[in-house]
Symmetry: C2
Subunit: 219 residues, 2 copies
């Protein structure tokens, strides 16, 4: 019964690529393509064919030698491994520009993620409805999390409030956090945090820009 489970727990790097494969496959499926080779899929996903095959091999042997992968079946398998066959409730904290954008993001609705509520500290915003989701006051955060069994918290507050919000989320049982605030969050080991940081991305690009400029000047 635990036939699928005792896999040597897929590597983090692989997990980070699976969603990309999933998206590309979904595109293929909509285009009416029934099977793909590792070559095609790798091309579309922007990785090497060998890496792709190794990634997929980590989750089982779903593929036919000489033919390729069945698109629908692979979509199902990746979804299952990623845990997308279940449903997750998400709460978004902070209704600034970013919170707005996140609430309207289509990616939430699809693929098993449901936004339970938007939450903000500013009472003036409470009662609004954004993208069909009601805005509630942050005092109610704990209530909302319990009520909707929220497991993922998204932090879109100013940096100064982020750690505080995070502590409260963790305090009432949230075990995964997606942080958009430019701070390093402090959490217990049992909680997963992923951060999205615009200014870091820009600075990395700046580094490469400079590198290119320098190597050009050296010629």
């Amino acid at each position: 019964m635990d036939r699928h489970l005792r896999r040597p727990s897929i590597s983090e790097a692989t997990v980070a690529r699976l969603p990309v494969y999933l998206r590309v496959l979904t595109g293929f499926a909509e285009g009416g393509i029934a099977t793909v080779s590792s070559e095609q899929l790798a091309q579309a996903a922007g990785v090497g064919p060998a890496k792709l095959r190794k990634d997929l091999s980590h989750l089982g042997s779903y593929g036919t030698r000489g033919v390729g992968y069945d698109v629908e079946y692979l979509i199902y398998q990746i979804s299952r491994v990623l845990g997308l066959t279940q449903h997750y409730s998400v709460v978004i904290v902070g209704v600034g520009n970013l919170g707005h954008a996140l609430a309207g993001y289509a990616g939430f609705g699809t693929r098993g993620f449901r936004v339970a509520a938007l939450v903000d500290a500013d009472s003036a915003r409470v009662g609004e409805t954004i993208a069909g989701i009601e805005v509630r006051h942050s005092d109610e955060l704990e209530t909302i999390v319990k009520e909707h069994e929220v497991s993922i918290g998204v932090i879109a507050t100013p940096a100064s409030a982020a750690q505080d919000v995070c502590d409260r989320l963790v305090g009432c049982g949230v075990t995964s956090v997606l942080n958009f605030a430019p701070v390093v969050l402090n959490v217990p080991d049992s909680v997963d945090v992923r951060k999205v940081d615009l200014s870091i991305e820009l600075q990395i690009l700046a580094f490469h820009e400079q590198r290119k400029a320098l190597s050009e000047a050296a010629s």
Copy 2:
């Protein structure tokens, strides 16, 4: 004269962490702290002390044994290595919710990034002013890039338009792209692309949620 240049080109993983150090250091500087040990800095940045020291060692020997690092000096050195002592012009394409949020993001103004213009395909939005930046029509993209010597393009359009916009950016000389659209962009090797993808982050969190749920069930 090329004393600094012939470093063995800092590793990608290190470059990705330098902006974090920089931010933490800036916080320390504002708090009036003059020197930090690798221990303190590592703690605040959420990494191990050894890794931090190795990272910093890759850009030179700025630090005093028995004492630590001078905050201001280290800020300067990291800024220099990242290329933040120069100025970069950025163009943001797509004025949806996300484009709005990005335009208002404080991280742009500081640290040498200047938003040359917001650009959108929708004529109805042209002429608006968002966060002090004028919205112009996407037909003018090429003109704007030339005029302001834009080197970084930010794509905040729907997925369907992203590749097209990207091609045009690359076509008129942009060599770094920050992509928020959920697609894999196709670019020549000479162009750097970094992607920020909300739905991917969520799916990765979902995977870990599931993993935690399973290992809990096994107990």
